[in-house]
Each structure stands twice: as structure tokens, then as C-alpha cells.
């Protein structure tokens, strides 16, 4: 072998090693970059959840027991709380879909400019504090609030309607707060649907209404189900609005957790409720993913 050939072979080997180490360096960089956020999630989310849920397996005397879980399934009070929680969450989700879907459809048919302007009306309330909005609803809905006084001065009603401090008030307030969570993913999905697809259906002989149900609606489903999951899961654990607009008469799960701690300072019982809430949310996500394929939303 000549010297030149020998040098060339050595260089090839060196290059191979350099390329390999370059590849490792890049991988290590990526891992290093994601390290801070991974650590943060571990410390402020996972560990507290683990610690809190471990509390649920101890009774008030400090002994290991399933007492807290048994009570959730046996106590009438807890059962009522679960029923109310589901009742409100389902109503809020259904109303959000009925209001949000047509709105998104209308927005998605607009020019970019017009849609962007109208989206501001969705986003400004979204960016406003939940507490501020809830109190605003209280002002509007109470016995001598704007809605009741207007309806009465127009002689539509004789007695003021009971709009606040009950289930109705909680649902109205929550729908307003949850609506953007439905609209944002749904609107994004609708906007990305190729208008030629609906045109193709119509061009091939389908009436506009049939084309909507055959083509547009199925294509909007991933966005719709993402919105439904968001609204439903956020509603399950919602606290501020039902607490203020429910007037103490509406007890959702989050309120029950709070009162169990502040009134009875029973950490075990409240963390058991928390664990059940978390499991329900996870089951919900898993179910929606099975039915609608939420993962498709992120894969495209």
C-alpha cells in the first residue's frame, strides 16, 4: 500500500469517528435543552400529585385504609356531588357545541381579515380574568340585575327570574368561560379544511346540505372532539364560577374538595376525591381518543 493510499484510509476512519461524535453531540444537546422543562414538570406536577394521592390511602387516625374511597361510593352527599358535577359538565359541553359549532362554521367561511377581527371578540373575554367575568354575570343575572329589570319593564315577565345563585346561573357563567376552549381548536380545524372538497361534493351532484354532512362535518370532527374534551374536562374540575354563581346551592366536585379541607380539614378524603376526578379526566381523554382519534389532530 502506498503512503498516499494509507493516509486516505486513515482520514476516512477519522471522518467516520468525527461524524459519529457529531451525531451524539446533537442528540445530547436536544436532551439537554428539554431537561429544565422535564425537571420542572416532575417537581411541580408529578411529585405533588403522587404525594397528594398517597394521602388518600390514610384515614383520619393516620392508618393505612381504603376508608376514603369507600365513603365516596357509599355516601349520599358524595353521590349527589358527582351527579351535579356530571350534569353541569354535560350541559355546559352540549350548549357550547350548539353555540360554538355554527359560530366557527360562519367564521371559517369568512375572509382572513374579517375572521381575524371577529376572533378578537372571542379572545378578549378569553384573556379576561375568570373572576371578573363571573362577577359581571352576577351583576347581569341577579334578581334586580339588568336582564330581569329589562324583561320586567318590557312586561315579558311579572316576577324576576331566578337566574343566579342556582344551577342555571352556574351553567350560563360556565358556558361563557368554556366557549373559547371549544371555538379555538374547532375553528383551526375548520379553517384547514380544503374548500375544494365541499365544492367537489356539490359539483358531483350532492346538495349543499348533504355535502356539509357527508364531507365538512366528518372533517371537522377531530377539532370538535378536541374542543369537547377540553370543555368537559375543565368543567369537571371547575371551581370559581359555580361557587359564586351557584350561591352555595350548587356543589361541584372541586367545591366539595375545598370544603372537605377548609371545614373538616380532612386531607385524606379530599385527596381521594381528587384522585377520582383525575381518573375520570384520563378515562374521558382515552375514550374520546378511541372514538374520534384525537391523535390525528397532532399527526397531520
Amino acid at each position: 500500500m502506498s503512503i498516499a493510499e494509507d493516509n486516505k484510509a486513515a482520514q476516512t476512519l477519522l471522518n467516520k469517528r468525527a461524524l459519529k461524535s457529531e451525531e451524539y453531540r446533537e442528540r445530547f444537546m436536544l436532551f439537554g435543552l428539554s431537561m429544565p422543562s422535564l425537571l420542572a414538570i416532575l417537581i411541580v406536577v408529578f411529585l405533588p400529585i403522587l404525594w397528594l394521592s398517597s394521602l388518600s390511602f390514610y384515614n383520619t387516625a393516620g392508618a393505612l385504609s381504603m376508608e376514603n374511597y369507600v365513603r365516596i361510593f357509599e355516601s349520599d352527599l358524595y353521590r349527589r356531588t358527582f351527579v351535579v358535577t356530571f350534569q353541569i359538565s354535560i350541559s355546559v359541553t352540549v350548549i357550547c357545541v350548539l353555540l360554538g359549532y355554527p359560530l366557527c362554521y360562519w367564521l371559517s367561511k369568512m375572509t382572513d381579515r374579517k375572521a381575524a377581527i371577529l376572533m378578537v371578540f372571542v379572545l378578549v373575554p378569553f384573556w379576561t380574568s375568570v373572576l371578573v367575568r363571573t362577577y359581571a354575570w352576577l351583576v347581569l343575572l341577579q334578581r334586580n340585575g339588568i336582564i330581569n329589570s329589562t324583561l320586567m319593564s318590557l312586561d315579558v315577565i311579572e316576577e324576576p327570574l331566578q337566574l343566579a345563585h342556582n344551577l342555571t346561573g352556574s351553567i350560563i357563567g360556565m358556558v361563557h368561560i368554556m366557549l373559547p376552549f371549544l371555538i379555538l381548536p374547532l375553528y383551526a380545524t375548520m379553517r384547514s379544511i380544503d374548500t375544494d372538497l365541499v365544492r367537489a361534493a356539490v359539483g358531483l351532484g350532492s346538495s349543499p346540505r348533504k355535502a356539509f354532512w357527508h364531507v365538512f362535518f366528518p372533517m371537522s370532527l377531530p377539532g370538535l372532539s378536541a374542543g369537547i374534551v377540553l370543555v368537559f374536562i375543565l368543567s369537571l374540575g371547575f371551581y370559581v364560577t359555580p361557587a359564586l354563581l351557584g350561591g352555595g346551592r350548587v356543589q361541584m366536585l372541586a367545591q366539595r374538595i375545598e370544603s372537605t379541607i377548609t371545614i373538616y380539614s380532612n386531607w385524606g378524603a379530599s385527596s381521594a376525591l381528587g384522585v377520582v376526578l383525575l381518573l375520570m379526566a384520563l378515562v374521558m381523554i382515552w375514550l374520546m381518543n378511541r372514538v374520534f382519534g384525537l391523535d390525528k389532530l397532532f399527526m397531520r
Binding site: D194, D196, L197, R199, A200, A201, V202, G203, L204, G205, S206, S207, P208, K210, A211, H214, V215, P218, M219
Partner: protein, 362 residues
């Protein structure tokens, strides 16, 4: 797919559509014969797509008339026009299988499930995709998707099929292959096809006739050959094929180039503005001796020679008129006789190839 349905003629008269101050369609009239393959050809923004969408019913014209056979359709919504349509983006439904896509027009028309199946299979067979029915759309290549779109447009045996630049998303080789296939398919189908493209070569390859559209108006409707050899305006001559043009003066139907008379067998179309002599590089003849008396003499000195694979482009400096391009076949035999730079060569433009057009159509 033979059918007992007769294809329909299309009659467009005085169709207008304006977007603000822009006239997308300016009194367009066009007759398309039953069973014809007609291409709407024009640059982007010329109004060709607007015209197609008006035929489909997706664009509402301001005035005019569109007749399919003896049925006036201008106010009829798109889904009642019974058209087959192929879109530029294919517009296949991504959540349906290939077979479901193809059967969709049949499903809409209430055809029985078993009939849907056999007819969809037959349509897929026609576009050489038999056996692909169960596949997802995303599993197909661009060319295959294009063929599914075609099958879907013809499965219900429409009398008219509209196509909006259906091949523009394919790469060059596949596009050229599909052009031939589409042409063959049209001969099998008994349907009037209206095809939109901005690619003049595609239009020449496929069409029975081509309507050249510019600024919302039809410049010329003719067979590919007549459009190429006898354009009526400078726009058509320039848009179709390769050409260079030189200004000429026309008096009493007699054209002159730099003071020398031009012999032409072709009629000079009416128009506005000045006139131009249009020279197609491949129609010029390089003569070894003097240029024949009957032909127009465009001889000059060779300025440059460019090898382009299938041919050689020779750029000739004419004494008074400027640069003239001549295309010479690139076979070895032809290349042996190639002139060298600076050499004087004889160029003959025969009267039957001497195209003189007005600057603007009247």
C-alpha cells in the same frame, strides 16, 4: 365505458362577470360541440378558471347565457347541473377509501349498493386502478390520486366533464404520460370535456380545439394546428409555441420588413395597433446556397450557437431587423453542416410560414 347517453353541446353567449372594476369575463361567447375536447388556455388571471367555474355553477355571472344542449343553466345551482368535475387539488375525500370516493356520485344519486360497487370497479378499471378500491387516499401517489379523481368524475356517466388544471401538480414526466392517457380516455367516453390549463404544450397535445383567453376575452378558438400556424393576434402567436417577432409595416394588405416586401400566403387578421412578423425558429430553412426567389430572405451572420439536447438553436444577426433564432435538429448528420460563429448563412422563410399578425385583436 360506452354508454347510451349522448354527450351535450355547450353554448355560452355574451357571458359577463366583473370583480369590482376588473372584468374577469367580458362578453364571452363560445360554442362547444357535443363530445368535443375543448381547452381554455390563458395566462393566470385571464379569466379561464372563472369561465370554467361559471360553467360548473360555482361562480355567478352578472349576465349572459349558458346552455347545456337546449337547457338554460345559468341560474341552476351546481349540484343540479349533472357535471363531472376534476379539481386541481384532486379534492378526494380523505376519510373515505378509493372505492367510496369513486362511488360517491352514485350514492348521491340513490344508486343501489351493489350497482355502486360494480360501477365503481368498472370506473377504476378504466383508469387502470382495478384492485385499489380498498386503499386509503393517503396510500396513493399523486398520479394515482389524479386517476381516482378522474374515475369519480366519470363514474356516473355525465354528459359533460369539467377539468380545472388537473395535471398541474404532477411532475413533468408523469404529466406528459397522463396527457396521452386522458386523451385516450376521452375517446372512450362519450362526454364533452372542458379543460383548463395555462400550459400551451398540454393544450396542444390534448385538445380538439383550444380557446385562448386573455383579459376576460376570447382571443381565438381554433384547432391546435391552426392556432399554431395561423394565429389571429400577436397575443396568441406569442403565447403559443416559441417565437420571435419583428415589427413590420402593412399597407394595402402588403407587409414590408425594413423596406423589403414580404411574401405571405396567410391572410392578415384585422386588428388594432401596428403589425408584427412572427417567426417560429423551427420553420426557418437554413439554405446552403442562395435563398429561393419565392421565399423571404432573412439571411445574416451567425451570432451564437446553443446546444439544447433535442435541437440546436442558432442565433443569427440580420442586417437590419435584429436577432433571429433558428432551430436546427440535433442529430449528428444535421450537426455536421452547422455553421460556425460569424459565418454568413442563408435563411429562407417560406410564404406559407410567414405569419403576420396585428398587435391587438380588433
Amino acid at each position: 365505458m360506452s354508454s347510451n347517453v349522448q354527450s351535450l353541446p355547450i353554448e355560452v353567449s355574451s357571458l359577463c362577470k366583473a370583480y369590482g372594476s376588473i372584468k374577469a369575463l367580458d362578453h364571452v361567447s363560445l360554442n362547444i360541440a357535443a363530445g368535443e375536447f375543448l381547452t381554455l388556455l390563458g395566462p393566470s388571471g385571464s379569466g379561464k378558471t372563472t369561465l370554467l367555474m361559471a360553467l360548473a355553477g360555482f361562480v355567478r355571472p352578472d349576465s349572459g347565457s349558458i346552455r347545456f344542449g337546449d337547457r338554460e343553466v345559468i341560474a341552476i345551482p351546481p349540484h343540479k347541473r349533472d357535471l363531472g368535475m376534476v379539481f386541481q387539488s384532486y379534492a378526494l375525500f380523505p376519510f373515505m377509501t378509493v372505492a367510496e370516493n369513486v362511488a360517491y356520485p352514485l350514492k348521491i344519486r340513490g344508486v343501489s349498493k351493489s350497482d355502486q360497487k360494480t360501477r365503481a370497479e368498472r370506473a377504476l378499471d378504466t383508469v387502470e386502478l382495478s384492485g385499489y378500491g380498498g386503499r386509503r387516499i393517503t396510500q396513493l401517489s399523486g398520479g394515482q390520486q389524479q386517476r381516482v379523481a378522474l374515475a369519480r368524475a366519470m363514474v356516473f356517466e355525465p354528459q359533460i366533464i369539467l377539468m380545472d388544471e388537473p395535471l398541474s401538480a404532477l411532475d413533468k414526466k408523469l404529466r406528459e404520460h397522463m396527457q396521452i392517457e386522458l386523451k385516450a380516455l376521452h375517446q372512450k367516453l362519450d362526454a364533452t370535456v372542458v379543460y383548463v390549463t395555462h400550459d400551451q404544450r398540454e393544450a396542444l397535445t390534448m385538445s380538439d380545439r383550444i380557446a385562448v383567453i386573455n383579459q376576460g376575452q376570447i382571443e381565438q378558438v381554433d384547432t391546435p394546428e391552426r392556432l399554431y400556424r395561423e394565429p389571429h393576434s400577436f397575443f396568441v402567436a406569442d403565447f403559443i409555441g416559441e417565437s420571435i417577432s419583428l415589427p413590420v409595416t402593412v399597407t394595402n394588405n402588403q407587409a414590408q420588413l425594413s423596406g423589403r416586401k414580404l411574401n405571405s400566403d396567410l391572410p392578415i387578421a384585422l386588428g388594432r395597433g401596428g403589425h408584427r412578423l412572427v417567426i417560429r425558429p423551427e420553420l426557418l430553412e437554413v439554405t446552403s446556397g442562395p435563398v429561393p426567389k419565392t421565399a423571404n430572405d432573412l439571411s445574416g451572420h451567425v451570432h451564437d450557437i446553443i446546444y439544447q439536447g433535442d435541437s440546436v438553436l442558432v442565433i443569427v444577426q440580420h442586417e437590419s431587423a435584429g436577432m433571429i433564432n433558428v432551430r436546427v435538429p440535433a442529430n449528428r448528420a444535421g450537426q455536421k453542416g452547422l455553421p460556425s460563429k460569424g459565418e454568413r448563412i442563408g435563411l429562407a422563410l417560406h410564404p406559407e410560414d410567414t405569419i403576420i399578425v396585428p398587435e391587438y385583436r380588433s
